[in-house]
Amino acid sequence: MGRVLAVIIWILTLLSVLLFFSGWWFPEAISEHAPALDRQFLITIIVVGLSFTAAQIGLGWMVWKYRDTGKPGERALYSHGSNRLEVLWTVITAVVFITLGVMGQSVWASLRLHDAPPGSYQVSVVAQQFQWNFHYPGKDGKFGRTDPTLIDDSALNFVGLDPGDAASADDSVTAALAIPVNRPVELRLRSKDVIHNFWVPQLRFKQDLVPGMEIKVHFTANRVGRYELACAELCGQLHFKMKSYMLVLPEDEIQQLQALPQADFQTKMTELLAKYPLPTK
């Protein structure tokens, strides 16, 4: 039995590890912080994989080698352990784990501990059950005033934009996100109802949108294209359908888009969405 168990444990370990080499992996990254993040992930998963494999091989070896052979009179080793070994493996794991933990903060720190650099492209994101609204400031670079009491979904004023405010005249609100390539983007995340989560897998980026809060986050996308945008926090019945697209556009297309009034903005957006295909991997 011991040998069977050992072999099964080893086979399961081998298959588990092989699965991680089977070609399924992250979608190709499109953001500036992604390479560092992917590297940190790779380092971590190598540590994880080695520890996993070592522990399982060790476990298999123990059950193979120390199975009861049924020889009469033979006894196990009488040992209560070894303080030296305890200290040794406590220190080693502590060093490895905490080093990993500290390394794991660098991408986080670079993204979250400081504000968006000046000149960032700004979009206000207003999530609602089960729809994304992206509010662009337009030519003047200023967001028009919004007020929850002005929200009227039936009149398509999803974000509660105040038409009386001068700054809102050139603003546009669309259901898809368009951002420039190679330029920092600042998103101001808000929610109208429950918690949602802004997530683009290729961007390696996620953030909750919490009602009652405006959360500012920033990142830089570095590859032109169209990407799927999902909600990653359970928000109700049609959570799985709360989908949109993020367009990463060359600077000239972004400039054109930004100059358009709301109605043309929508049309242009539709065109652009059709123009860029989804990534194939």
Partner: protein, 628 residues
């Protein structure tokens, strides 16, 4: 020499059926009641996971039986998204609360903690009985939450109780995941299906469960501190007792916080307070305060709920797994015929895990909008909790090293626990890093991680415990051959279910999606989704073998010939089988040795029981142990 001891025979053995088996104050009967509750609850929870897998792998397929069972949840036999989400919620809640918290602690802990420390019962037997019955009420309430949907059937009866007891439209239960994040869970019917009466019952059920668990924890702690028999010093307790004790401390300090949060949530739902609901919300076309269906709310904090929930929720993870760790250490030593390697280190590791468990809750909230600085603190603390976990793993391997391993089914499951604990726990290194949470938060990697480590590993600990202690509890063995088939199918099955989920998580598959058809980038995962579903169906099928084995063995299993069939050392093997009403027939045992004195050189047998007065144990201080 003898002396009186007033503790013994504190309550006489009951005679009537009801006092003996139903409203019993005997910790052994209560333990079995808890285990039975868990066995029923886990069946419900498994059935729900089966339905979820069916929906994910064969979307849109009509299952006529579903329509019969849930006319509003699956019209035409096709599951609605809200039906799927309520399954997610109920599966999580039932499994975490009524399976993983009841069986390991309330079940096995209740039965064996008093015996293993040489006490004749729990400190407060009546409280013990209450704790079970309160928990059972909680379970009934959570089951009712499934059926208050619409206004038909049972729902009609609930509707008569008042407006807060009518269901949302066409759902089958609350929707919120087991974490019930506010404000989705706080807003009420306005927030869509699954937010009506079912959600109220969900909150109430959890509050009731908190009370039951607190009564239990109070009892465990007092019993252990106050009722150890002569010679049973703390450092002579079996590791199981240390695990149950630490679990009880965690429960004692974390459940009140959930209870507090639950009360606030319920007030938000039924009394229009604004603890978790911010102002200016616009839900389902209505602005807060402009319509009687959506009263005015101002200023609440959704993140506050997450703090309260996870302050409980993270220790809860350890509440689920610590007893399994204890049982595994106990069983590994017994069947490796070897003392536990590094007993003290094991005790310290249990304590360290328990203590650190209170300071890492924030790692569930990296994406919540809380301060990015506190995220860094939580992240580093989280990684450090891996250290005592690794220490435990090393010590388990050390216990096996040089052993004479006997491969009983209990031992197989204990070994399976070690394997799965490593497989599931190690990915905590990924999820604990705030940076890596950017891609990994709320994906299937999270699902895989916690199912392996807190779900399956804990359950393996309980399987091991049941196969191990069944002979003591019922005087009959469970079938070893059925048990082996059960083990192999389950062990291979859970690897096949949960390892592919890691890959899904890396590709970016979000959890709690009722369908993946909307997203192009998930298309390539279809074969894995199918693999997981097939593996899940086989594994769940294998559990029927287990149920059959339990029932069959109670009545027809091989009889236990002597009181110590496994040649173990601790006190439960020192008394009659099954133990008498007061555990030791009026004579409390006296303890002379540590709990795991196997393979003692010079001893007549290869084990020295804790009560063995004559045996000489060579070393009171084991530095010599590793000399060959």
């Amino acid at each position: 020499m003898s002396e009186t001891h007033e503790g013994v025979h504190r309550h006489p053995a009951p005679t009537g059926f009801i006092r003996k088996y139903i409203f019993s104050i005997d910790h052994k009967v209560i333990g079995i009641q808890y285990i039975m509750l868990a066995l029923v609850a886990v069946l419900v929870g498994m059935a729900m996971s089966l339905l979820m897998r069916m929906n994910l792998s064969w979307p849109g397929t009509s299952w006529p039986i579903l329509e019969t069972l849930f006319p509003t949840g699956a019209p035409g036999g096709v599951m609605t998204p809200e039906f799927y989400l309520s399954l997610v919620t109920m599966h999580g809640t039932i499994m975490v609360f009524f399976v993983l918290t009841t069986a390991p602690q309330g079940g096995f802990g209740n039965y064996f903690l008093p015996i293993q420390i040489g006490a004749e019962d729990m400190a407060f037997p009546v409280l013990n009985m209450l704790s079970f019955w309160v928990t059972l009420v909680g379970f009934i309430v959570i089951l009712m939450a499934i059926f208050v949907e619409g206004n038909q059937g049972l729902g009609q009866w609930f509707a008569a109780l008042g407006p807060s007891f009518t269901g949302g439209s066409g759902t089958v239960g609350p929707i919120g995941g087991w974490t019930g994040y506010a404000p989705l869970s706080a807003l009420g019917k306005i927030a869509g299906p699954g937010q009506g009466a079912g959600m109220n019952l969900w909150v109430i059920s959890i509050a009731i469960f908190c009370v039951g668990s607190l009564l239990g924890a109070l009892n465990f702690i007092t019993t252990l501190l106050n009722m150890r028999t002569k010679g049973m010093s703390l450092m002579r307790m079996p590791l199981t007792c240390w695990a149950w004790f630490t679990t009880a401390v965690l429960a004692l300090l974390s459940f009140p916080v959930l209870l507090g949060g639950g009360i606030l949530l319920l007030l938000d739902r039924v009394a229009n307070t604004s603890f978790f609901i911010p102002g200016g919300l616009y839900v389902s076309g209505l602005l807060s305060g402009t319509n009687p269906n959506f009263p005015l709310h101002t200023g609440g904090s959704p993140i506050l709920w997450q703090h309260l929930f996870w302050f409980f929720g993270h220790p809860e993870v350890y509440i689920a797994i610590l007893p399994g760790m204890g049982a595994t250490s106990h069983i590994l030593a017994t069947f490796a015929r070897k003392p536990v390697f590094g007993y003290r280190a094991m005790v310290f590791a249990i304590f360290a895990i328990g203590l650190l468990g209170f300071f890492v809750w924030g790692h569930h909230m990296f994406m919540s909008g809380m301060s990015p600085y506190s995220a860094i603190a939580f992240s580093v603390l989280t990684l450090s909790i891996g250290v005592p976990s690794a220490v435990k793993t090393f010590n388990w391997l050390g216990t096996l090293w040089g052993g004479r391993i006997r491969f009983t089914v209990a031992m197989l499951f204990a070994l399976g626990f070690v394997s799965l604990f490593v497989a599931g726990g190690i990915t905590g290194l990924i999820l604990g890093q705030s940076s890596l949470d950017l891609p990994m938060h709320d994906t299937y990697l999270v699902t895989a991680h916690f199912h392996l480590v807190m779900g399956v590993a804990s359950i393996f600990g309980m399987f091991a415990a049941l196969y191990f202690w069944f002979p003591k509890m019922f005087g009959r063995f469970m079938s070893e051959s059925l048990g082996r088939i059960h083990f192999w199918l389950t062990f291979i099955g859970v690897y096949a279910i949960f390892v592919p989920m890691h890959i899904m998580g890396i590709v970016g598959m979000p959890r709690r999606f009722s369908s993946f058809t909307e997203y192009e980038y998930l298309r390539s995962l279809d074969p894995l989704v199918m693999l997981v579903s097939v593996a899940a169906i086989i594994t769940i099928g294998a559990q029927l073998l287990f149920y059959f084995n339990v029932v069959w063995s109670v009545f027809k299993g091989k009889r236990v010939e002597n009181d110590n069939p496994w040649e173990a050392t601790t006190l439960e093997w020192n008394t009659a089988t099954p133990p008498p009403h007061d555990n030791f027939a009026g004579v409390l045992p006296v303890v002379y040795h540590g709990p795991y004195e196997f393979a003692v050189p010079g001893a007549p047998r290869d084990y020295v029981m804790q009560t063995d007065m004559e045996a000489e144990v060579p070393s009171g201080n084991g530095h010599n142990g590793h000399k060959h």
